[in-house]
């Protein structure tokens, strides 16, 4: 990166101000400050410039100029990401899509919505509601996060097992290439000819292009949804109950698990009426036609009792259903109340490994001297261990990171992966070396170069350089190792 031709912030800002409202070409430190990080605030960097274009043509010109001068570009939506994927580059431009916030069209008969990338996830379902439709993926940040960011991260949510991830709910994406060309991936039909570039672009963390328009599929709003809550006196039993539901042929709309620490914290916060003495809690939401829900709820209640639930209770109305979910959805802030800071992990494991992984995690918790609470998308195996720490205690964040790394390594060892929905970004770039071989990482680099040969789009994210990987693997043989990526960035 040191061989990039130098272009000064002032020169670049002047070029941008020729075609973008000068007020939205930001170069002073104070106004740029909110852009220094995303939702992963442990990783900060001040950019050279922040620019907020208003039209696709402006985005294209920004890209052409940056391409010409080889200036790094970091695209940014709402900045809610949890892997520092939108952390700025010190010598680069933050390209905010915040002004692209219009819903361009909703087609109720074709069940699609055409959106600018800065439209908020929840706003799609709100706008579609009058037609009896909604947008499936519902990440926890859905009040704030944008559809452009969802495409970049392939965001999930609590309904993935039944309704899929972002990639399953997209039809068409317009993207600006690094050269500033506009390309269309996908179509208004379901399949296209040739390689599936839409799938490739989804979850590519801003490394392949800048998304300027998104067409999503909308789903008919289910007639009815009900939640069964079941408490268990062991995680193993709760895990078996998840398997039991699925083996029975029921695919719940949402199936969430919380461990004892998370149950108490969430119940303190939301007064959701959770069984506070339970070691594990399942929330199983069944949705569909009124008849189907009735049938499946009865089966689920019976199954949970049969499989050793210590308490079973079902929402009788929308208010009760909302309250049961409130506890789960506020689990993160709830845990935030019992600890000065928390660090949220995002590994995925085969469900049958759950009890083993949680037991190991308890042992690690003692070894690292840090508490951990677990919330778990049980239906699809996505774990969110929350490590509790205090950033003001010297060395505690470093220990937290080491604990997190050990958890992700365990996830890979049992056949899972290092990130289910938060992305790699900067945060998990080191752990990529556990999941992929050098040849696989080299293939990723070659693929990236097919789109962006000079490495201008979101450099330093997603895929680690092979040299760093070798260092990481060597360092990981020593306990509490230092962090080469950080040293490289600051050194």
């Amino acid at each position: 990166m040191t061989d990039r031709p130098h272009v000064g912030a002032a020169d670049l800002a002047a070029r941008f101000r020729e075609f973008i409202d000068p007020e939205f070409v930001i170069s002073d430190a104070e106004t740029m400050k909110p852009y220094e990080c995303d939702g992963m605030s442990m990783y900060c960097e001040m950019p050279m410039l922040v620019v907020l274009p208003e039209t696709v043509a402006q985005v294209q010109r920004v890209m052409r100029i940056c391409h010409q001068h080889q200036v790094p570009v970091v695209a940014r939506g709402a900045g809610t990401g949890l892997s520092a994927g939108a952390m700025p580059h010190a010598d680069g431009v933050v390209l905010s899509l915040a002004k692209f916030n219009r819903i361009l069209d909703i087609d109720p008969l074709a069940r699609t919505a055409r959106l600018q990338p800065g439209v908020r996830n929840l706003a799609i379902s709100e706008a579609a509601a009058e037609f009896g439709l909604y947008y499936g993926p519902d990440p926890s940040s859905q009040i704030a996060c944008t559809i452009g960011g969802n495409v970049a991260e392939n965001s999930g949510g609590v309904h993935c097992l039944k309704y899929g991830l972002t990639v399953h709910n997209l039809l068409r994406v317009e993207m600006i290439t690094v050269e500033g060309e506009r390309v269309v991936l996908g179509s208004e039909g379901l399949d296209v000819c040739g390689m599936d570039l839409l799938a490739l672009a989804t979850g590519s963390e801003g490394l392949l292009g800048v998304v300027t328009e998104v067409t999503v599929k909308l789903l008919p709003t289910p007639e009815r949804a009900q939640v069964v809550m079941a408490g268990f006196d062991s995680v193993q039993k709760a895990g078996d109950a998840v398997g039991g539901i699925i083996a029975h042929g029921i695919i719940p709309g949402g199936l969430e698990m919380m461990d004892g620490h998370a149950i108490v914290a969430a119940d303190d916060f939301a007064q959701a009426g959770y069984p506070r003495d339970a070691k594990a809690l399942l929330l199983c939401e069944v949705d569909g036609t009124a008849e189907e829900v009735q049938e499946h709820i009865e089966q689920a209640e019976a199954l949970f009792r049969e499989l050793g639930a210590t308490s079973v209770c079902t929402s009788k109305n929308e208010a009760e259903r909302a309250l049961l979910w409130k506890g789960r959805k506020s689990a993160f802030p709830a845990v935030g109340r019992i600890s000065p800071d928390y660090y949220c992990m995002d590994g995925t494991i085969p469900r049958r490994q759950l009890a083993h992984v949680l037991t190991e995690m308890e042992a690690m918790s003692e070894q690292f001297g840090l508490r951990v609470a677990n919330v778990f998308h049980a239906g699809d195996g996505n774990l969110h261990p929350l490590i509790l720490f205090d950033a003001n205690v010297p060395g505690e964040f470093e220990r937290t990171e080491a604990f997190g790394t050990a958890i992700l390594r365990l996830c890979v060892e049992v056949g899972g992966c290092i990130t289910g929905e938060h992305g790699v970004g900067v945060e998990k770039i080191r752990q990529m070396a556990y999941q992929f071989s050098d040849a696989e990482l080299a293939q990723f680099h070659d693929l990236k170069a097919a789109f962006d040969p000079q490495g201008i789009l979101n450099p330093g994210k997603g895929v680690p350089s092979l040299r760093f990987c070798q260092e990481y693997r060597a360092l990981d043989d020593k306990p509490h190792s230092s962090h080469p990526a950080k040293e490289a960035r600051h050194g």
């Binding site: 392939n154 993935c160 379901l190 007639e223 996505n382």
Partner: protein, 354 residues
């Protein structure tokens, strides 16, 4: 039931050394798809690389070698009351899962259950450098690295030799029934889309010969209640109808006339053409039999928000897939080069320039 990955890898390396081009063959059931390759190729048979590697019914995940026949996979899943919800078509006696993914083929349930691409969780493949690589995994949620697994869907083997595929599988529905009724072609597209917008357990919507067929699948109570509410007669022997549709065994598909596939906006109105039509996927997939010129059909497809391809018959030395704009063609050429720098795999099968 053999693992011949090492042999396949050796064959790729040898081909690279000797400057050979390779035609990847699974069961050979889809050899008619894509273009006739203009250059001489040697067959690389993947069919022997077969067998189920791992299957945990409770995880809803299956890992198989790419040469495994669909019949073997579905028989194994059926024992556990599960299946492949994208309903892979049988276009011959020996269709494999690898070919199904490479050609991105899915059956009548596709709009509701997703395509083969949607169910793929991970792949292993041998690239043009002879490296055996693993992407994705065996879990539903996995965003580490680029989605190379789904990139293979529709690439027709141009990026590498698929050796292993992990898929999401689903429980079979407890009940299924089909409602059939007469309907004019100018009404049916709006009708099918209106039904698809209702929160009911629809799993198939097809129009053929003046009749519309709606399939319902799911919990028995939901299927029965919906059938009572909607118009149409409950069809006998409907399973056979959907299987014949899936496998292109209905009379519509017989004969040698060129068969065109339109993948378009489900609500689109297409202009009248001389030939014969079959509408599937609630309007999103339309089959056309008849002579026509490619630019005219491509314009119709574009106007309908989608694409057209020459699925079977016709001139297969020309382009058979929808025209790609220059920028996308350039991207795909560079991607191809990144996986297969010497152009070993299926040269010209997908596009003349790839």
């Amino acid at each position: 039931m053999a693992d011949i990955a090492q042999q396949l890898q050796d064959r790729v390396l040898a081909a690279r050394d000797q400057g050979q081009k390779l035609n990847i063959v699974g069961g050979g059931s889809k050899s008619f798809l894509g273009r006739q390759m203009a250059v001489a190729t040697t067959n690389l048979h993947v069919g022997e690389h077969r067998g189920i590697v791992e299957y945990h019914p409770v995880e809803l995940v299956l890992t198989v070698r790419a040469g495994t026949p669909l019949t073997e996979i579905e028989a194994t899943l059926a024992e556990q009351g599960q299946g492949l919800h994208f309903e892979p078509p049988r276009l011959g006696a020996s269709d494999t899962i690898g070919g199904t993914l490479a050609c991105n083929l899915s059956g009548p349930a596709r709009p509701w259950s997703g395509s083969v691409r949607d169910q793929v969780l991970g792949v292993r493949l041998i690239n043009g450098k002879g490296e055996h690589l693993k992407f994705g995994g065996q879990v539903m949620k996995n965003v580490a690295g680029f989605d190379v697994s789904r990139l293979q869907a529709g690439a027709m083997g141009t990026l590498g030799v698929l050796t292993e595929i992990s898929l999401k599988v689903m429980p079979q529905p407890a009940a299924t029934l089909t409602l059939v009724q007469d309907m004019a072609p100018d009404q049916v597209v709006a009708y099918m889309n209106a039904r698809a917008a209702e929160p009911k357990p629809l799993s198939g919507a097809c129009w053929r010969d003046g009749k519309v067929y709606l399939r319902l699948s799911g919990a028995r109570s939901a299927v029965e209640a919906t059938a009572e509410k909607w118009t149409g007669t409950v069809m006998d022997g409907d399973d056979g109808f959907w299987r014949q549709l899936r496998d292109q065994q209905l009379g519509f598909f017989a004969g040698d006339d060129p068969l065109w596939r339109f993948s378009v906006r489900s609500t689109a109105t297409l202009p009248p053409l001389e030939g014969d039509w079959l509408i599937d996927w609630a309007g999103a997939q339309r089959w056309y039999r008849g002579a026509a010129d490619t630019p005219q059909l491509e314009q119709i497809a574009r106007d309908a928000g989608g694409q057209v391809s020459l699925f079977r018959g016709g001139d297969r030395r020309g382009e058979v897939m929808h025209h790609q704009p220059d920028a996308l063609a350039a991207l795909q050429k560079r991607l191809k080069h990144s996986f297969d720098p010497d152009g070993l795999f299926n040269p010209g099968r997908l596009y003349s320039w790839l």
